[in-house]
């Protein structure tokens, strides 16, 4: 269809990432995105290692937010327990990495952590979706899972909760988690402070592009259809239960990736990642940024966490009040979130600027497709 990447440079390159299921299908959008990534990449150069350390945490949060936007915005599954996968991956990485702190070991730890969060999401998803749990019950069940993990991890202080050399550490958390490293045997890289920032940024950009391509693929249409009307979609021969399971599992994997990057940045993970305040944050980001916009959620995560950080530095107690009120007002005043609203304005502005607001071409017959 000609709405999808008809014009501009790199049209062919952009094609897999564009379609009616995502906002921002113009050269201007991609240029803007490139500039934004470049600015983020320049942060450590401009502001030093400090910015890299602080920024890496925000970027890991953004991954977490994106995982929720993906499952909620595109498939209608509102999980209040996205932090469960985030935290489980962090703990899993810690357990493997502490026991095998070599290049190979750390590479395995990274893979194992993402595998654990993925499998965990798949198992929970299977349990829920194949059990007929739907809508609000999914939401509450996921929250309860996060809270159970919070309670459970909180009491693992005793020596019996030791796996090899790794102590789960209870309420105090697991400390001494090594840095990220990739390699086999003696060849490879240990990822230092600055490296960690760029790895996280790279992971965020790559995940964004990957999810974007996915939601514009055939599977993406199936997701969106499932969100819009599950029964109807099943009647078109889609196995919606399976679709939801796959989406939920991918969401778990992305959240897990965020969790690993978060944990390796802090070299520490504790049960508060499962707590009710932590669990609320992804929902806040996705609601404010706009759950149907992956990038909107990322933007909201970065912005809100930055403001929260500045408020904390000033010693203000008002951060949570601000975040909570923001959530209330955004959902009341623009239920779709900021990004979709912005997108509408941009489209309107373009239409105004366009002297001939004739609708874009209807779908052409195959032979007419020229570009």
């Amino acid at each position: 269809m000609s709405v999808e990447s008809g014009d501009g440079p790199f049209a062919a390159l952009r094609r897999p990432f564009e379609g009616p299921n995502t906002m921002g299908n113009s050269p201007a959008f991609w240029l803007g995105l490139a500039v934004a990534v470049a600015v983020l990449a320049a942060m450590p150069v401009l502001f030093g290692l400090y910015a890299a350390e602080v920024g890496a945490v925000f970027l890991a949060y953004a991954l977490l937010g994106m995982s929720l936007a993906f499952i909620w915005g595109y498939c209608g599954i509102l999980s209040f327990g996205q932090v469960a996968f985030f935290g489980v991956a962090g703990y899993a990485f810690g357990i493997v990495a502490i026991n095998a702190a070599t290049l190979t070991g750390l590479t395995v730890a990274l893979l194992a952590a993402i595998a654990v969060s993925t499998v965990f999401a798949a198992a929970l998803g299977y349990f829920m979706f194949y059990g007929g749990v739907r809508d609000v019950y999914v939401t509450i069940l996921t929250l309860v899972v996060a809270l159970v993990l919070y309670t459970f991890m909180g009491q693992t202080a005793g020596g019996e909760w030791t796996i090899g050399d790794a102590r789960l550490g209870g309420f105090n958390g697991m400390s001494g988690v090594p840095d990220l490293a990739v390699g086999v045997g003696s060849t490879g890289v240990e990822i230092g402070l600055l490296g960690h920032y760029y790895v996280t940024l790279g992971a965020l950009v790559a995940t964004y592009l990957g999810l974007r391509a996915l939601v514009n693929s055939q599977f993406g249409y199936a997701m969106v259809a499932t969100r819009e009307d599950e029964d109807r979609t099943a009647m078109f021969g889609y196995d919606t239960t399976f679709i939801k399971l796959v989406v939920f599992t991918i969401g778990g994997a992305v959240a897990g990736l965020g969790g690993v990057l978060f944990t390796t940045q802090n070299n520490y993970v504790d049960p508060s990642v499962f707590g009710i305040t932590a669990a609320a944050l992804p929902v806040v980001w996705a609601s404010v940024g706009g759950r149907t916009s992956l990038l909107g959620t990322v933007g909201a995560a970065l912005a809100i966490q930055f403001v929260d950080y500045r408020l904390a530095l000033s010693g203000s107690e008002w951060a949570l009040v601000l975040i909570g009120s923001l959530l209330v007002f955004v959902v009341l005043l623009m239920p779709e979130g900021v990004a979709p609203r912005l997108h509408e304005y941009v489209l309107e502005y373009r239409e105004d600027a366009d002297p001939s607001p004739v609708p874009r071409e209807p779908p052409a017959a195959t032979e007419e497709v020229s570009d």
Partner: protein
């Protein structure tokens, strides 16, 4: 194998690896910045991260205030090495994530020369990776489970061994040898429970029941039932936090006050004897190194100075006193080292310093970075009036036995009692 040596630690150069780190490849980026965000001043800076809101506000507020009081006193009397110590002291709001952010900010942006931070062990553990990475001098003053053996960390609060070592023998002597332990279900509580068993064993007593209570629990119906059916000679309580303080009211309502309670956590920290109406804490005995009620001249003068400075203050808890004397300890060390340079200050702290604290004279043990405290048993009567027995000096024996010697080996470890004592 209780010491876990790691081949890879935070930001260390990879031992096995031949490849360089990514950080090294970006030559232009160092700790300095292109845009120069760093603070221009040359004054030495202390970062004081103590909670004035959130879960730990009750203890954190007093800790903040005594620290400020000490720094102000010293600044007024000629300063630290003749210089005025600047303070960076935002409120971490009892949130470990904020602690990480603020500690990072203190280290990078404020260039802190010394750090006081946090009440709970969880907080300490949350920021310890940062402390280790930047070799930051750090005073942790809460009475805690013990065992931290770390080159740049000075855990100055009494350890569980010191607190329980004061109160448990006293209770066994006074009431008998059957003990029922009720403790908070987290690291501190569980390790304290282990210590009760170890000390009971040493004194020929026995733990007849043990229960670990989740931190947010404030209903003790079944616990009180269990205690009543076990009929111990006394209860050892290592309950913490405000939710747990409901135990004492429920103890009163269930008629459990005839069984005395020993504690290492209550009264001296969260002033339960003042917050809860008598006689809920009747016959509660606390092992403490300090309580505001301590009737010595030195302490009374200190209390007076404190309330003069902070007229709306409520209570000086044990940790607040620890903060206070640790500032003086720091001053001594800086002066002995002749510089604010952290490695030199740590070396000076390891030279066997002594200061006069409100609790009495204390000595810093060079090998373990812990303090020989003046431990007392404080008793609350039916009106919640406090009386003390004679102080005794208890050394940080556990770490000494564990072989922690930071003067010869720069470890970053936390030891657990179970590796040394069968009972645990």
């Amino acid at each position: 194998m209780f010491v876990t040596e790691r081949s890879l630690t935070r930001r260390s150069v990879l031992a096995a690896g031949s490849a360089g780190t990514l950080a090294a490849t970006a030559g232009c980026v160092g700790e300095g910045t292109v845009l120069g965000m760093q603070d221009g001043g040359t004054n030495p800076t202390a970062a004081v991260l103590e909670d004035r809101s959130g879960t730990f506000a009750l203890t954190g507020t007093a800790k903040y205030r005594t620290t400020m009081l000490a720094i102000e006193e010293i600044n007024r009397d000629g300063g630290f090495l003749g210089e005025e110590l600047k303070v960076f002291a935002p409120d971490p709001q009892s949130d470990n994530m904020r602690y990480q952010d603020l500690a990072r900010h203190a280290i990078y942006q404020e260039d802190a020369d010394v750090l006081w931070a946090g009440y709970s062990s969880a907080t300490r553990e949350a920021i310890r990776p940062l402390i280790n990475e930047h070799e930051q001098l750090y005073f942790y003053t809460t009475q805690y489970e013990g065992g931290v053996c770390d080159k740049t960390v000075f855990p100055l609060g009494a350890t569980a061994r010191q607190q329980l070592g004061a109160v448990v023998p006293h209770m066994i002597e006074t009431y008998g040898d059957e003990i029922y332990t009720v403790a908070a279900d987290y690291n501190f509580g569980q390790l304290s429970g282990d210590w009760v068993k170890i000390i009971a064993e040493e004194h020929g007593a026995e733990v007849v029941g043990e229960e670990y209570i989740p931190l947010e629990e404030s209903q003790f119906g079944s616990t009180i039932n269990n205690i009543q059916s076990a009929e111990p000679d006394f209860v050892m309580s290592m309950l913490v936090g405000q939710d747990h303080s409901a135990f004492y009211e429920q103890r009163l309502a269930s008629g459990l006050t005839d069984i005395p309670v020993g504690t290492s956590t209550n009264m001296a920290q969260e002033r339960e004897h003042l917050r809860i109406d008598p006689p809920a804490l009747e016959d509660v005995y606390a092992g403490v190194n300090y309580m505001e009620e301590l009737p010595t001249d030195r302490n009374e003068a200190f209390v007076e100075r404190y309330y003069e400075r902070w007229d709306d203050a409520e209570y000086i808890n044990q940790e607040a006193q620890n903060n206070y004397f640790s500032v003086y300890l720091y001053k001594e060390a800086v002066e002995r080292a002749g510089t604010f340079e952290q490695a030199a200050v740590i070396e000076a702290l390891e030279s066997g310093l002594e200061v006069e604290a409100p609790e009495g004279k204390i000595r810093l043990d060079p090998e373990t970075h812990h303090v020989e405290h003046n431990m007392r048993v404080a008793h609350a009567d039916e009106n919640h009036d406090i009386s003390f027995d004679e102080p005794r000096t208890i050394e940080p024996v556990f770490l000494q036995e564990a072989g922690c010697d930071l003067t010869s080996e720069a470890e970053q470890t936390q030891y657990e009692p179970e590796a040394f004592y069968e009972e645990a």
